[in-house]
């Protein structure tokens, strides 16, 4: 068997495995559901995310340690991850292959030639690392937090985060139609355009240049490229037989010039050159190449410094916006278990796993509402999805690979045995009295109170009787027992007999109207007017309303009330992040 075949099988294996992990990421015990599938495996394999997190938090959290394995392999064997494992790379490889099907060899070779723009990915890596270099310095040197923003931006372009995000949030929901296989309901995601645009661009650019993303953009490739300076095994040209044809570059994936001086940092160990060389001159082994090679990427110190400085400057500029202080965005409701904002942003790699697993589809990728530094981080939007945030659910924290959302137990989420802290709160609901039906429009409704899931409920209602406007006042003509004949406005039959309307005559409590015609009203037989109304008495029709009032001490911000509110545009009860457990400064309650 040729080694090329093994490589292809390896790429297919890991890509299918990746797609499998995306498909099973929904809560359930069946074999096609989450169970114990290690769905974060590829995120964990990426040492870029792990490195970023190690710099911003000083820890390597649990599974992220797999990145060390990738690094180890890279130190000794080169960028084998890129050529053999990375599913995103495999997709680019495939599309690149398709793009050259009808091409002649010279054309193929030309498209695989090294291009100076391949250093852009190193700039991208430096910019991303620059965004956290201040954080690192602060921690090592003990500087005060100051106004510099702390945030991990690596997830924006880390290939694994990008791929998980794109497949889970864009491709699978589109393929799945109305939620037939991969989830129980159709999934909707904000920021679909921005995520999808980047993904499709990366795919389509392969038709211009094969492995466009890998060669020009991928910061993980850049990191592995820098770290594969001294691999034990590498591609080398044994001098004797080389005819400089350059047939070896027909299918070179990394555009690394194996026919001349191999650029070690670009080589993805696809071994296509070895396969294509008719003379057997290209080998993969321990020896040094005959013509020498270029171990380091073609970047200068000045470029490195400038890139890092721009990263730092970007963070400084964002820090001035004050979103970590008084200017915090009120509508930024984060998932339950999320750490407070600086710590959250130091860990979130925007992989979208929490959005994928959320059974009610309320976790959404932010566009700009949480600031430029928090693009595609999880934000709850209660208008989307099937329900609010179920208050017994703990799914998001248990799929977050970096613990930006802490894994909770159900007891901690609900506050059982956590007397001092109480249940985890993600915000508080506020009734908009200008929009709420019983407050503003004299229409009965208590859907929010009915659906409040906590016990005792966090919404109570206050009963009020508001008079119904009549064109001409109603006066009693005659009355007996529980029935009255009236003069005045002619009433629409049945309109006031819904059970919510009462009528009142002076000096007595209101009686519920059970039947009503154009000019007659009957009240509840077991509770008639006592004494009966006399002719000439004025009758007032009242509507009984229950006006909802939130009890902030009990509200956990789950958003079911907002979800169920019949005012479906701008809801009459809305959750904002005040009183969220993760940040004591956002509270307005004393205890």
């Amino acid at each position: 068997m040729r080694i090329i075949t093994a490589r292809r099988i390896s790429q297919i294996f890991f890509t299918l495995l990746f797609f499998w992990f995306c498909m099973v990421s929904s809560l359930g015990r069946q074999w096609w559901q989450l169970r114990g599938w290690p769905v974060n495996f590829f995120l964990e394999l990426s040492p870029l995310a792990g490195l970023g997190m190690a710099l911003t938090t000083g820890t390597i959290y649990k599974g992220m340690a797999w990145g060390l394995v990738t690094l180890g392999v890279t130190f000794f064997l080169g960028r084998v991850f890129c050529g053999w494992v990375c599913p995103f790379g495999a997709i680019h490889h495939l599309l690149g292959y398709i793009s050259r099907i009808k091409q002649a060899a010279p054309e193929k070779v030309r498209r695989n030639r090294y291009h100076p723009a391949q250093k852009v990915k190193y700039w991208i890596l430096m910019v991303l690392l620059g965004t956290i270099v201040y954080d690192l310095a602060r921690r090592l040197l003990g500087l005060p937090p100051g106004r510099m923003l702390s945030s991990l931006q690596i997830g924006l372009l880390d290939p694994m985060s990008l791929l998980y995000r794109s497949i889970n949030l864009i491709v699978l929901p589109l393929v799945d139609g109305g939620g037939r296989w991969f989830s129980t309901a159709p999934r909707w995601y904000d920021a679909g355009f921005s995520i999808g645009l980047i993904f499709i661009s990366a795919l389509l650019l392969n038709f211009k240049v094969p492995r466009f993303f890998c060669r020009y953009v991928c910061p993980l490739g850049a990191l592995l490229g820098i770290l594969s300076r001294w691999p034990l095994f590498r591609i080398y040209k044994s001098d004797a037989a080389c005819k400089t044809c350059p047939s070896c570059e027909r299918h070179c994936e990394g555009a690394c010039q194996p026919s001349d001086q191999l650029r070690l940092s670009e080589c993805v160990v696809c071994l296509n050159c070895r396969e294509d060389c008719r003379e057997g001159s290209i080998r993969y082994g321990l020896k040094a190449p005959a013509t020498g090679d270029i171990p380091a990427p073609d970047i200068h110190r000045r470029e490195v410094i400038l890139s890092m400085v721009s990263g730092v400057a970007g963070m400084a500029a964002l820090g001035i916006e004050g979103r970590q202080g008084f200017n915090w965005p009120a509508h930024l409701v984060r998932p339950p278990g999320a750490l407070n904002e600086p710590n959250f942003l130091a860990r979130c790699i925007r992989c979208g796993q929490c959005m994928r697993i959320c059974p009610t589809n309320v976790i959404q990728p932010a566009v700009l509402e949480a600031g430029w530094e928090a693009i595609w981080t999880p934000v709850l939007n209660f208008r989307v999805g099937t329900s609010g945030c179920q208050h017994t659910c703990i799914a998001c924290g248990h799929v977050c690979p970096t613990a930006a959302i802490r894994p909770l137990t159900r007891d901690e989420r609900m506050g059982n045995g956590f007397k001092e802290q109480g249940p985890i709160r993600i915000g508080t609901a506020f009734v908009d009295r200008g929009r709420c039906l019983p407050w503003a429009m004299d229409k009965p409704c208590i859907v929010c109170q009915e659906n409040c899931p906590v016990s005792p409920k966090a919404i109570f209602t206050r009963e009020v009787f508001n008079p119904v406007r009549m064109g001409r006042p109603l006066t009693v003509v005659s009355a007996e027992k529980d029935q009255m004949k009236l003069s005045g406005t002619v009433l629409t039959p049945g309109r006031y007999a819904t059970g919510d309307f009462y009528c009142r005559i002076s000096g007595q409590a209101p009686r519920q109207i059970v039947r009503q015609n154009e000019q007659t009203i009957s009240v509840l037989a077991i509770y008639p007017f006592e004494p009966p109304p006399r002719a000439g008495d004025h009758v007032q029709i009242l509507i009984r309303l229950q006006q909802p009032i939130v009890i902030p001490d009990r509200c956990i911000g789950c958003g079911i009330c907002e979800h169920e509110c019949p005012i479906s545009g701008k809801r009459a009860i809305r959750v904002t992040a005040e009183n969220e457990s993760r940040n004591a400064r956002h509270g307005f309650l004393l205890s």
């Binding site: 068997m1 114990g36 599938w37 026919s259 060389c277 703990i394 799914a395 077991i526």
Partner: protein
């Protein structure tokens, strides 16, 4: 050194010749296969890892939703009772909802349904060494302890032996009946015999030890029982009719008790209504109902040992009805009008002693 490759004029040979004339070495094949084996190993490890469920999945769809006191009110889908020593299950657990209850207990279903029935779980058990001595356990989830008391008390057999199992428990020759929390439990053995009662009692004790009570104790359920005067009360005769008491749809949650009368027993009933006004209204409504069905009101000196007492003669018996405060009370189907009147007065006095104003 070698000249740099000429990219613009590559040798044209490659189009004509096959892709490679390099031999695939044995080493290459071995390495490739070894690598594939490595991939296989990864696959196997992943397969073994997937059986260790993510805690989020355990939380979302736990294996046993039955016996733990969960925060939701979902009914259990299996009867996970720990077996006492020497007992094994004989059938798989069955579960019935209000719609399917009559499949199991036929006409008796109506009694449970009108009392707030939620779910029935039933299962058969037997001693390991005696297949003939099997018994069936019925666990009725009635929703509230009060409802459980209703179905318990209205079905209580006469002259039975009290069981020191729970506050409300009795046994017959071959069965146990008791209430625990909101559940009414029957354990009925197929045979009679020396060994049956102890076996059932041991099983019941194990069951009670396993079941976690929800907050309400039975004492809450039977609070209205304390208004019954104790003098003349026949022991363990207090029952609760959940709905449609005495054929009148508006009479619900009515407690009845038997009293010793001069010739026969008398039935005293009492029901706690939401307010005094409603009690009074209901008393009048019940009176009207009886009159509607052929009763006649009895007025006169003998009819007023108690102010506001209605006496209706219907079908050769007398119904006495009155209310005090939020309590509606009376005597049901009494033969002896004088004795019934005295009982009604006793009831009224007991209520007054408890501080209930007229």
């Amino acid at each position: 050194m070698f000249p740099a490759p000429d990219y613009d004029n590559p040798t044209s040979r490659e189009n004509a010749v096959s892709a490679t004339n390099r031999q695939t070495t044995k080493k290459e094949t071995i390495l490739s296969l070894l690598f594939l084996a490595f991939l296989g190993a990864i696959f196997l490890v992943i397969l073994s890892v997937q059986s260790r469920f993510n805690p989020a999945v355990e939380n979302f769809a736990p294996k046993n939703i039955g016996t733990e006191a969960s925060n939701t009110n979902e009914p259990a889908d299996n009867l996970s009772i720990p077996l006492s020593a020497g007992i094994k299950t004989m059938s798989s657990p069955e579960s019935f909802t209000p719609d399917t209850l009559s499949n199991k207990i036929n006409g008796k279903a109506e009694l449970y349904l009108s009392a707030g029935f939620v779910q029935l779980q039933a299962q058969r058990f037997r001693p390991i060494d005696d297949p003939e001595a099997w018994f069936e356990v019925f666990v009725y989830d009635m929703g509230t302890p009060s409802n459980a008391f209703a179905v318990y008390s209205t079905q209580r057999r006469k002259d039975v032996e009290k069981l020191p199992l729970t506050q409300h428990a009795y046994r017959t020759a071959n069965a146990l009946f008791f209430i625990t929390g909101r559940h009414y439990v029957e354990m009925i053995a197929a045979t009679r015999g020396e060994v049956v009662p102890p076996m059932l009692i041991a099983f019941a004790k194990k069951y009670l030890g396993h079941v976690q009570e929800d907050g309400q104790t039975e004492a809450d359920a039977s609070d209205p029982k304390s208004v019954f005067p104790t003098e003349g009360l026949i022991a363990d005769s207090i029952a609760l009719i959940a709905k449609d008491a005495f054929g009148f749809s508006r009479l619900d949650q009515v407690y009845t008790a038997q009293y010793h009368g001069p010739d026969t027993e008398m039935n005293l009933f009492v029901s706690l209504r939401p307010s005094s006004k409603e009690a009074r209204t209901l008393a009048e409504a019940y009176r009207d109902f009886l009159i509607q069905f052929g009763g006649t009101e009895v007025t006169g000196p003998e009819s007023s040992p108690l102010a506001g007492l209605f006496i209706i003669r219907i079908m050769d018996a007398h119904e006495l009805i009155f209310s005090r405060g939020p309590y509606l009370a009376g005597v049901h189907m009494a033969d002896d009008i004088a004795a019934a009147g005295k009982l009604a007065v006793k009831m009224d006095r007991k209520l007054a002693e408890m501080g209930i104003a007229k």
